[in-house]
């Protein structure tokens, strides 16, 4: 799976939780999930669980702490998938 394909899936998973539609329209790897997309921080657990289901991976809690942007998600998923 290419990073472009992972990016598309990540955006799809994040979309229901996004509060800032403008930020979603111009989403990129640099887009910050909490600050730009205004995703509720308590929803990050839901997002991580959806990543695990979608990509058939297990994400360690300590790895989630370093995720801030959409690009961080893509890198973490690509790295975890190996």
């Amino acid at each position: 799976m290419s990073e472009e394909q992972i990016f598309e899936q990540v955006v799809k998973i994040l979309t229901p939780y996004v509060k800032d539609e403008k930020a979603l329209a111009s989403i990129s790897g640099e887009t910050n999930i909490l600050e730009d997309l205004k995703v509720n921080s308590a929803r990050l657990v839901d997002v991580v669980l959806a990543f695990e289901d979608e990509f058939d991976i297990e994400i360690a809690d300590e790895d989630v702490d370093s995720v801030n942007t959409v690009g961080d998600c893509v890198s973490l998923i690509a790295r975890t998938k190996g």
Binding site: N40, A42, R43, L44, V45, V48, L49, D61, V64
Partner: protein, 152 residues
């Protein structure tokens, strides 16, 4: 790694107190499941206004009762395993999200049984599929409730 709590310890540790306490007893509690009961006393002040002459328990309080009687005990159980008893005191329980349906009416004096089955526990957040039934078996409220432990 702490030791899991008993159902009686969990009942004591549920932080809400009257007049905002809507759980009487926990019948069963383990890592994945909880069953509790609550009797809606005729003495609650809100029945005077909801509705005058036709008292009905507000749906929002049925949801609160399911949180207190199911989500919080399950969360306390998981937190105590992860953080120990001393870690519990630093966490405040907050609602994060809820999706429920109502299927009946709870009148003053009705007793309800609340059950919860854990959907997940991650990063101090717990979601449970919850259900509230009257003694006659009617499901009055059901859905998914989530809460998180935070340090305020």
């Amino acid at each position: 790694m702490g030791k899991e709590i008993s159902k009686n310890e969990a009942l004591t540790l549920i932080p809400q107190r009257p007049p905002f306490r809507f759980v009487d007893e926990i019948l069963e509690l383990d890592e994945n499941h909880v069953t509790s009961i609550y009797r809606w006393s005729e003495d609650h002040e809100f029945y005077k206004g909801h509705f005058p002459g036709n008292p009905v328990t507000p749906g929002v309080l049925l949801v609160e009762s399911m949180a207190q009687a199911a989500v919080i005990p399950l969360a306390l159980y998981s937190w105590s395993k992860e953080f120990g008893r001393e870690g519990l005191s630093s966490l405040t329980t907050l609602f994060t999200d809820v999706e429920v349906e109502f299927g009946g009416v709870v009148r003053p004096g009705d007793r309800v049984t609340i059950s919860g089955n854990k959907a997940f526990y991650r990063r101090k957040k717990l979601r449970a599929a919850c259900e509230m039934r009257l003694d006659n078996g009617t499901v009055v409220c059901s859905g998914n409730l989530s809460g998180i432990g935070v340090q305020l």
